[in-house]
Protein backbone atom coordinates (compact mmCIF):
# COMPACT_ATOMS: atom_id res chain seq x y z
CA UNK A 1 0.00 0.00 0.00
CA UNK A 2 1.58 3.24 -1.13
CA UNK A 3 0.50 6.31 0.89
CA UNK A 4 2.68 8.86 -0.96
CA UNK A 5 3.26 10.71 2.30
CA UNK A 6 5.66 13.25 0.81
CA UNK A 7 2.75 14.59 -1.30
CA UNK A 8 0.99 15.57 1.92
CA UNK A 9 4.08 17.12 3.53
CA UNK A 10 2.80 20.69 3.22
CA UNK A 11 -0.69 19.82 4.39
CA UNK A 12 0.66 18.03 7.44
CA UNK A 13 2.78 21.02 8.38
CA UNK A 14 -0.20 23.34 7.89
CA UNK A 15 -2.29 21.12 10.18
CA UNK A 16 0.50 21.00 12.77
CA UNK A 17 0.76 24.81 12.54
CA UNK A 18 -3.00 24.98 13.11
CA UNK A 19 -2.71 22.66 16.10
CA UNK A 20 0.06 24.83 17.56
CA UNK A 21 -2.13 27.88 17.00
CA UNK A 22 -5.12 26.14 18.67
CA UNK A 23 -3.08 25.07 21.70
CA UNK A 24 -1.49 28.50 22.00
CA UNK A 25 -4.91 30.24 21.84
CA UNK A 26 -6.20 28.09 24.69
CA UNK A 27 -3.10 28.55 26.84
CA UNK A 28 -2.78 32.30 26.22
CA UNK A 29 -6.53 32.95 26.59
CA UNK A 30 -6.87 31.16 29.92
CA UNK A 31 -3.61 32.61 31.26
CA UNK A 32 -4.52 36.17 30.24
CA UNK A 33 -8.02 35.93 31.68
CA UNK A 34 -6.75 34.61 35.01
CA UNK A 35 -3.98 37.21 35.10
CA UNK A 36 -6.37 40.09 34.35
CA UNK A 37 -8.82 39.01 37.05
CA UNK A 38 -5.95 38.59 39.51
CA UNK A 39 -4.61 42.08 38.71
CA UNK A 40 -8.05 43.70 38.99
CA UNK A 41 -8.58 41.94 42.32
CA UNK A 42 -5.15 43.04 43.60
CA UNK A 43 -5.93 46.63 42.61
CA UNK A 44 -9.31 46.41 44.36
CA UNK A 45 -11.39 46.96 41.24
CA UNK A 46 -12.72 43.56 40.19
CA UNK A 47 -16.18 45.11 39.91
CA UNK A 48 -15.03 46.98 36.79
CA UNK A 49 -15.79 43.82 34.80
CA UNK A 50 -19.50 44.67 34.81
CA UNK A 51 -19.03 47.80 32.69
CA UNK A 52 -19.38 47.40 28.93
CA UNK A 53 -16.41 49.64 28.06
CA UNK A 54 -14.16 47.48 30.26
CA UNK A 55 -15.45 44.34 28.53
CA UNK A 56 -14.53 45.96 25.21
CA UNK A 57 -11.08 46.90 26.55
CA UNK A 58 -10.52 43.32 27.69
CA UNK A 59 -11.53 42.01 24.26
CA UNK A 60 -8.89 44.32 22.75
CA UNK A 61 -6.37 43.11 25.32
CA UNK A 62 -7.16 39.49 24.41
CA UNK A 63 -6.30 40.29 20.78
CA UNK A 64 -2.90 41.47 21.98
CA UNK A 65 -2.17 38.76 24.55
CA UNK A 66 -3.86 35.68 23.07
CA UNK A 67 -4.95 35.80 19.43
CA UNK A 68 -2.00 37.66 17.87
CA UNK A 69 0.69 35.62 19.71
CA UNK A 70 -1.04 32.30 19.04
CA UNK A 71 -1.33 33.09 15.33
CA UNK A 72 2.33 34.06 15.50
CA UNK A 73 3.30 30.66 16.98
CA UNK A 74 1.34 28.71 14.34
CA UNK A 75 2.72 30.90 11.56
CA UNK A 76 6.25 30.60 12.89
CA UNK A 77 6.16 26.80 12.62
CA UNK A 78 4.46 26.80 9.22
CA UNK A 79 6.85 29.43 7.86
CA UNK A 80 9.81 27.43 9.14
CA UNK A 81 8.66 24.19 7.50
CA UNK A 82 7.17 25.51 4.27
CA UNK A 83 8.99 27.94 2.05
CA UNK A 84 6.61 28.35 -0.91
CA UNK A 85 3.30 30.11 -1.39
CA UNK A 86 3.38 31.53 2.12
CA UNK A 87 1.02 34.33 1.08
CA UNK A 88 -1.79 31.76 0.73
CA UNK A 89 -0.61 29.05 3.10
CA UNK A 90 -0.18 31.21 6.21
CA UNK A 91 -3.89 31.88 6.47
CA UNK A 92 -4.59 28.22 7.27
CA UNK A 93 -2.87 27.74 10.67
CA UNK A 94 -4.93 30.64 12.03
CA UNK A 95 -8.15 29.34 10.44
CA UNK A 96 -7.58 25.81 11.76
CA UNK A 97 -6.64 27.02 15.25
CA UNK A 98 -9.61 29.36 15.49
CA UNK A 99 -12.03 26.78 14.10
CA UNK A 100 -10.79 24.36 16.77
CA UNK A 101 -11.46 26.98 19.42
CA UNK A 102 -15.04 27.54 18.16
CA UNK A 103 -15.73 23.80 18.10
CA UNK A 104 -14.38 23.47 21.63
CA UNK A 105 -16.74 26.24 22.79
CA UNK A 106 -19.92 24.81 21.27
CA UNK A 107 -20.71 22.55 24.28
CA UNK A 108 -20.63 25.61 26.52
CA UNK A 109 -23.48 27.22 24.57
CA UNK A 110 -21.29 29.22 22.21
CA UNK A 111 -23.18 27.92 19.20
CA UNK A 112 -26.24 29.97 20.12
CA UNK A 113 -26.20 32.32 17.14
CA UNK A 114 -28.83 34.66 18.61
CA UNK A 115 -26.38 35.81 21.30
CA UNK A 116 -23.25 35.72 19.18
CA UNK A 117 -21.34 38.96 18.68
CA UNK A 118 -19.92 38.19 15.24
CA UNK A 119 -17.56 41.18 15.06
CA UNK A 120 -16.24 40.96 18.62
CA UNK A 121 -16.14 37.19 19.03
CA UNK A 122 -15.33 35.95 15.54
CA UNK A 123 -14.16 38.58 13.07
CA UNK A 124 -11.71 40.49 15.31
CA UNK A 125 -10.06 37.47 16.99
CA UNK A 126 -9.80 35.63 13.67
CA UNK A 127 -8.26 38.69 11.98
CA UNK A 128 -5.74 39.02 14.82
CA UNK A 129 -4.82 35.32 14.56
CA UNK A 130 -4.37 35.61 10.80
CA UNK A 131 -2.25 38.76 11.19
CA UNK A 132 -0.14 36.99 13.82
CA UNK A 133 0.25 33.99 11.54
CA UNK A 134 1.57 36.14 8.68
CA UNK A 135 3.95 38.01 11.00
CA UNK A 136 5.23 34.70 12.39
CA UNK A 137 5.55 33.06 8.96
CA UNK A 138 7.44 35.94 7.41
CA UNK A 139 9.61 36.38 10.51
CA UNK A 140 11.14 32.96 10.04
CA UNK A 141 11.41 33.07 6.22
CA UNK A 142 11.21 36.69 5.14
CA UNK A 143 12.71 36.36 1.65
CA UNK A 144 11.00 33.31 0.22
CA UNK A 145 8.01 35.14 -1.15
CA UNK A 146 10.03 37.84 -2.85
CA UNK A 147 10.82 37.22 -6.52
CA UNK A 148 14.45 37.32 -7.40
CA UNK A 149 15.02 40.21 -9.87
CA UNK A 150 18.04 38.44 -11.44
CA UNK A 151 15.89 35.49 -12.52
CA UNK A 152 13.64 37.75 -14.57
Amino acid sequence: MNLHLPRFGKEIHIVIGGAICFLAINVFLSTSQVAIRFLLFRFNCLGLLVFSEVTTALSILMLATAYLPSGFCGGLYTGYKIKENLRIILIFPALIGFAGLLILRIPSGYGDLSNLNIVGEIFMPLSASIAGSYVGGYTISPKEEKTDPEKK
Binding site: C45, L46, G47, L48, E53, T56, I60, A64, L68
Partner: protein, 196 residues
Protein backbone atom coordinates in the same frame (compact mmCIF):
# COMPACT_ATOMS: atom_id res chain seq x y z
CA UNK B 1 4.37 47.08 18.19
CA UNK B 2 0.75 46.02 17.51
CA UNK B 3 0.65 44.18 20.84
CA UNK B 4 1.97 47.25 22.65
CA UNK B 5 -0.54 49.55 20.93
CA UNK B 6 -3.49 47.30 21.76
CA UNK B 7 -2.26 46.99 25.35
CA UNK B 8 -2.02 50.77 25.71
CA UNK B 9 -5.50 51.28 24.21
CA UNK B 10 -6.96 48.73 26.67
CA UNK B 11 -5.19 50.33 29.61
CA UNK B 12 -6.48 53.80 28.68
CA UNK B 13 -10.08 52.52 28.39
CA UNK B 14 -9.89 50.65 31.71
CA UNK B 15 -8.28 53.60 33.47
CA UNK B 16 -10.92 56.02 32.16
CA UNK B 17 -13.70 53.59 33.20
CA UNK B 18 -12.14 53.45 36.67
CA UNK B 19 -12.19 57.25 36.93
CA UNK B 20 -15.75 57.46 35.58
CA UNK B 21 -17.38 54.86 37.83
CA UNK B 22 -15.37 54.95 41.07
CA UNK B 23 -17.02 56.60 44.07
CA UNK B 24 -14.53 56.07 46.89
CA UNK B 25 -14.68 52.42 47.93
CA UNK B 26 -17.63 51.78 45.61
CA UNK B 27 -18.47 51.70 41.91
CA UNK B 28 -21.60 53.38 40.62
CA UNK B 29 -23.49 51.03 38.34
CA UNK B 30 -26.06 52.62 36.06
CA UNK B 31 -28.32 50.36 34.05
CA UNK B 32 -31.52 51.17 32.18
CA UNK B 33 -33.58 50.19 35.22
CA UNK B 34 -31.53 50.98 38.34
CA UNK B 35 -28.60 52.99 39.71
CA UNK B 36 -26.68 51.72 42.71
CA UNK B 37 -23.28 51.68 44.40
CA UNK B 38 -21.51 48.39 45.05
CA UNK B 39 -18.13 47.57 46.66
CA UNK B 40 -15.22 47.83 44.22
CA UNK B 41 -13.97 44.27 44.64
CA UNK B 42 -17.32 42.52 44.28
CA UNK B 43 -18.11 40.62 41.12
CA UNK B 44 -21.17 42.02 39.36
CA UNK B 45 -23.15 40.55 36.51
CA UNK B 46 -26.26 41.76 34.71
CA UNK B 47 -28.56 39.79 32.44
CA UNK B 48 -31.80 40.15 30.51
CA UNK B 49 -34.44 37.53 29.91
CA UNK B 50 -36.48 38.83 26.99
CA UNK B 51 -39.73 37.05 26.14
CA UNK B 52 -42.95 37.81 24.33
CA UNK B 53 -44.80 37.38 27.60
CA UNK B 54 -42.59 40.01 29.28
CA UNK B 55 -39.02 40.86 30.10
CA UNK B 56 -36.98 40.30 33.24
CA UNK B 57 -33.82 42.17 34.15
CA UNK B 58 -31.36 40.82 36.69
CA UNK B 59 -28.27 41.84 38.57
CA UNK B 60 -26.15 39.66 40.83
CA UNK B 61 -23.37 40.90 43.13
CA UNK B 62 -20.96 38.57 44.89
CA UNK B 63 -18.02 39.28 47.19
CA UNK B 64 -15.02 37.07 46.37
CA UNK B 65 -14.24 36.22 49.99
CA UNK B 66 -17.74 35.54 51.37
CA UNK B 67 -20.30 32.82 50.75
CA UNK B 68 -23.03 35.34 50.16
CA UNK B 69 -24.56 37.26 47.27
CA UNK B 70 -27.07 39.95 46.47
CA UNK B 71 -29.48 39.69 43.60
CA UNK B 72 -31.92 42.10 42.11
CA UNK B 73 -34.67 41.10 39.72
CA UNK B 74 -37.11 43.38 37.93
CA UNK B 75 -40.13 42.21 35.97
CA UNK B 76 -41.55 44.64 33.41
CA UNK B 77 -45.31 45.30 33.28
CA UNK B 78 -46.15 42.26 31.17
CA UNK B 79 -43.84 39.90 33.04
CA UNK B 80 -45.30 41.16 36.34
CA UNK B 81 -48.87 40.42 35.19
CA UNK B 82 -47.86 36.93 34.06
CA UNK B 83 -45.94 36.22 37.30
CA UNK B 84 -48.82 37.40 39.51
CA UNK B 85 -51.45 35.50 37.52
CA UNK B 86 -49.46 32.27 37.21
CA UNK B 87 -48.64 32.14 40.91
CA UNK B 88 -51.95 33.53 42.15
CA UNK B 89 -50.29 36.47 43.88
CA UNK B 90 -51.88 39.87 44.59
CA UNK B 91 -49.28 41.94 46.38
CA UNK B 92 -45.59 42.22 47.28
CA UNK B 93 -45.94 40.41 50.59
CA UNK B 94 -47.61 37.38 49.03
CA UNK B 95 -44.87 37.33 46.39
CA UNK B 96 -42.29 37.16 49.18
CA UNK B 97 -44.21 34.33 50.86
CA UNK B 98 -44.36 32.48 47.56
CA UNK B 99 -40.60 32.88 46.98
CA UNK B 100 -39.73 31.85 50.56
CA UNK B 101 -41.77 28.69 50.12
CA UNK B 102 -40.04 28.00 46.83
CA UNK B 103 -36.57 28.48 48.39
CA UNK B 104 -37.47 26.30 51.38
CA UNK B 105 -38.84 23.51 49.17
CA UNK B 106 -35.64 23.63 47.16
CA UNK B 107 -33.65 23.33 50.40
CA UNK B 108 -35.71 20.32 51.44
CA UNK B 109 -34.69 18.55 48.22
CA UNK B 110 -31.04 18.94 49.31
CA UNK B 111 -31.58 18.35 53.01
CA UNK B 112 -34.75 16.73 54.37
CA UNK B 113 -34.00 18.01 57.88
CA UNK B 114 -33.79 21.67 56.86
CA UNK B 115 -35.94 23.86 59.10
CA UNK B 116 -37.37 27.27 58.26
CA UNK B 117 -37.19 30.04 60.89
CA UNK B 118 -38.72 33.44 60.24
CA UNK B 119 -36.67 36.16 61.93
CA UNK B 120 -38.43 39.35 61.02
CA UNK B 121 -41.10 40.78 58.72
CA UNK B 122 -41.74 44.43 58.02
CA UNK B 123 -41.57 47.31 55.60
CA UNK B 124 -38.73 49.60 54.58
CA UNK B 125 -38.10 52.37 52.10
CA UNK B 126 -36.08 51.68 48.95
CA UNK B 127 -35.68 54.55 46.49
CA UNK B 128 -38.93 56.16 47.69
CA UNK B 129 -40.85 52.91 47.38
CA UNK B 130 -42.51 51.27 50.36
CA UNK B 131 -41.23 47.71 50.20
CA UNK B 132 -42.06 44.57 52.16
CA UNK B 133 -39.29 42.47 53.51
CA UNK B 134 -38.78 39.25 55.39
CA UNK B 135 -35.66 37.86 57.07
CA UNK B 136 -35.48 34.13 57.49
CA UNK B 137 -32.98 31.36 58.13
CA UNK B 138 -33.09 27.82 56.84
CA UNK B 139 -31.22 25.65 59.34
CA UNK B 140 -28.92 23.30 57.44
CA UNK B 141 -30.04 24.83 54.16
CA UNK B 142 -26.62 25.95 52.95
CA UNK B 143 -24.54 22.99 51.78
CA UNK B 144 -21.01 23.72 50.60
CA UNK B 145 -18.86 21.76 48.15
CA UNK B 146 -17.64 19.49 51.00
CA UNK B 147 -21.25 18.65 51.89
CA UNK B 148 -20.95 20.59 55.15
CA UNK B 149 -24.28 22.05 56.27
CA UNK B 150 -24.67 25.62 57.48
CA UNK B 151 -27.55 27.92 58.21
CA UNK B 152 -28.77 29.71 55.11
CA UNK B 153 -29.88 33.26 55.85
CA UNK B 154 -31.97 35.47 53.62
CA UNK B 155 -33.34 38.98 53.57
CA UNK B 156 -35.93 39.17 50.82
CA UNK B 157 -37.35 42.54 49.76
CA UNK B 158 -40.09 43.12 47.24
CA UNK B 159 -42.43 45.82 46.03
CA UNK B 160 -44.80 46.24 43.13
CA UNK B 161 -45.56 49.52 41.38
CA UNK B 162 -46.50 48.60 37.86
CA UNK B 163 -43.41 46.42 37.88
CA UNK B 164 -42.34 43.76 40.33
CA UNK B 165 -39.04 44.40 42.09
CA UNK B 166 -37.22 41.74 44.10
CA UNK B 167 -33.96 42.34 46.00
CA UNK B 168 -32.35 39.76 48.24
CA UNK B 169 -29.24 39.17 50.27
CA UNK B 170 -28.56 35.48 50.84
CA UNK B 171 -25.67 33.47 52.19
CA UNK B 172 -24.17 31.31 54.89
CA UNK B 173 -25.18 32.86 58.21
CA UNK B 174 -21.75 34.14 59.36
CA UNK B 175 -20.84 35.49 55.91
CA UNK B 176 -24.34 36.94 55.52
CA UNK B 177 -23.74 39.01 58.66
CA UNK B 178 -20.44 40.28 57.22
CA UNK B 179 -22.10 41.30 53.95
CA UNK B 180 -25.10 42.94 55.63
CA UNK B 181 -23.53 46.43 56.02
CA UNK B 182 -22.69 46.57 52.33
CA UNK B 183 -26.22 45.39 51.52
CA UNK B 184 -27.64 48.29 53.53
CA UNK B 185 -25.31 50.71 51.76
CA UNK B 186 -26.44 49.31 48.43
CA UNK B 187 -30.11 49.64 49.38
CA UNK B 188 -29.63 53.26 50.46
CA UNK B 189 -27.82 54.10 47.23
CA UNK B 190 -30.37 52.35 45.01
CA UNK B 191 -32.38 54.57 42.70
CA UNK B 192 -34.92 52.98 40.43
CA UNK B 193 -35.41 54.27 36.94
CA UNK B 194 -36.94 52.94 33.80
CA UNK B 195 -35.67 53.78 30.33
CA UNK B 196 -37.48 51.07 28.41
Amino acid sequence: MAILSLGVISYVIIYSALNTHARGDYFKLETEYVELDFPRNWVAMTWKDLNRSGNRYGLILTPMDLRASIFLMIYDENATKVYLKQNNIYDAFSSITFEVERIYNWSLEKNRDAKLDFVKNGTLNVSNHQANFTMFTIEGGYIDENQQRYNWTWMYISWIDDKLWQIALQGEEADWNKAYDNFNYLLNSTETRWKK
